[in-house]
Symmetry: C2
Subunit: 334 residues, 2 copies
């Protein structure tokens, strides 16, 4: 993932047609999540905010969109020996759930130090956990071994057009419901959600500003976008446990084309935004979701986005993808 962008031509991104097909494929199985508003957060941000509540999505995050699309867009032959992936978080649970829907087994490679609550989620959906050491090498080797031993199909968390097309359906629903957004914010980790969001948003509203949001402590997307060269994730010690991966060539290429910038937030800003959403909106979001709220609660973010004034003279309309709601209530940061 530290390969310069110039060495490998970017894989072709999923287009609008693939996203529409993905949506039709997954719509009977996933939730069309609500878009919520909050007068309190509007007042704090100076904008009009529209929160796409993927915390209410099946399995508790948007990840089920991509996983369902990836698994249900394959032939019976391709999936008959099962699905494998590596994920310590929401993607693992989503793959386990979608594989069960498809009626095939799922193997989820997870580091030994994964929180018990996340292991229970995977097992709850009938997935088989395969533990590895908490290193990238062990994760890769363990995944390769499982693929060899089982003949399962790999469903990568984000480096996969089918995944990107699935994740893109959240922003498709958001823009269908709120067609005149001036900007949309989503968290960025491996870039599956943000790249999908950007394709849908630009397809439905070409003039929209799409911004990624990232912890300062896991700022590879910010560095990649500002240098124009794909950067490795040097450190990822952030409370936003869903945002520790790094961009792939595939997702980076989409972001370079579609995304206006990456907004960085501190750990304290993430925790404070998470608490504000719980208290004011009465919904449970996980830290990774709060990463896309936190920039809007800081002075200067809105001005820095340099959005053109609206024709109606009213404050900017900004969509925010709340990516998930899976938190361990036994270890809250407040």
């Amino acid at each position: 993932m530290s390969t310069p962008a110039t060495q490998a031509p970017p894989a072709p991104a999923p287009g609008w047609t693939e996203i529409v097909e993905a949506h039709a494929r997954i719509a009977p199985r996933i939730r069309r999540t609500p878009v919520m508003t909050s007068e309190s957060l509007d007042a704090m941000s100076g904008a009009r905010l529209f929160f796409k509540c993927e915390n209410f999505q099946k399995t508790g995050s948007f990840k089920i969109r991509g996983a369902t699309n990836a698994i249900f867009s394959r032939s019976d032959e391709e999936v008959k020996r099962g699905i494998a992936t590596h994920s310590s978080g929401n993607h693992g649970a989503a793959v386990a759930c979608a594989a069960r829907w498809r009626g095939v087994p799922a193997w989820i490679v997870m580091p030994r130090n994964t929180a018990a609550v996340k292991c229970r989620a995977v097992e709850g959906y009938g997935g088989t956990i395969v533990f590895c050491e908490p290193t990238a090498t062990s994760r890769r080797e363990t995944t390769e071994r499982i693929l060899r031993e089982t003949g399962a199909l790999l469903v990568h968390p984000y480096d996969d057009d089918r995944i990107v097309a699935g994740q893109a359906t959240a922003a498709k629903e958001l823009l269908e419901e709120m067609p005149d957004l001036d900007a949309v914010l989503a968290p960025v980790s491996g870039g599956g959600l943000l790249s999908g969001t950007s394709i849908s948003a630009k397809a439905l509203r070409p003039e929209i500003r799409v911004c990624g949001c990232e912890p300062q402590r896991a700022n590879d997307a910010y560095l990649s976008m500002t240098t124009g060269t794909l950067q490795a994730q040097e450190s990822s010690d952030t409370i936003a446990d869903g945002l520790r991966a790094a961009l792939a060539e595939r997702t980076f290429a989409i972001l370079r084309r579609n995304v206006a910038g990456i907004l960085l937030v501190t750990e304290q800003e993430i925790i404070s935004a998470m608490r504000t959403v719980w208290e004011r909106m009465k919904i449970v979001i996980e830290p990774s979701s709060a990463v896309a709220v936190a920039p809007l609660l800081k002075p200067g973010t809105l001005a820095g986005m340099k959005l053109p004034p609206r024709a109606d003279g009213k404050p900017a309309k900004i969509g925010v993808v709340l990516s998930g709601g899976n938190v361990d209530l036994d270890s809250l940061p407040f």
Copy 2:
């Protein structure tokens, strides 16, 4: 409040007409809150549950419905010197908010030991807090003094037909959206919400079963209903801080006519239900709301309700009023 029911004839309850009028009056100001479902909680309960999410209501609880109706159904002359009430909780914030909407001052009598977060809520809506000692006598005397000194109008938390009619609008919305419910559950304290719920539910679906839900540690409604005589609240040391009041003659009379029974839950059952809703539904509810969920997570409750089998042969449809979402994140019980 310990007067036997036979000594005073019950005050006439608000009828359906008053509730329809109340709804038209308050609808432009309050939220029409969503009705949420949860496959997880359906599986746990053996029923199909429909949660009326008053935790998303303005001011964070259903109380704004009654307060708005009580304050906006009065003439300018009646409210011009302001509004007064006594409440350490959601009713106080609701009265402060509705009084501000009406453009008149509000005085909220609160015990000195009220949590700071609740004081901030009242002040945030522009209400003036008047502290009293944490005794019923001090509360009454302080309220009477404020009424004398200011000429304000008293808006009682529940012993008031206008309040009952306002609280009734939550169940009206629920039944309008889900007309074929077999039962509806709501927490009971002073009985404003439960009595209003029962009038709306019975008006829209006469065969519906209406149940109150109450902490074992604050079981005056249970005792009043089982003895047929209004009982005082002997003890109210419960985590469900919104349910520490006792029924009034007015609300007791309505419950006797409309309510099938009162379901009791332990403190541990309240905490466990609250946690289950946060984890599975990803919404923040306060302990008082969890009191109406907890019975459904216990084996035997559904069977004990003896609901007639549905014509469609499917599991019972049960509405649950989630009364509010105001919790202090600094002192969670888990």
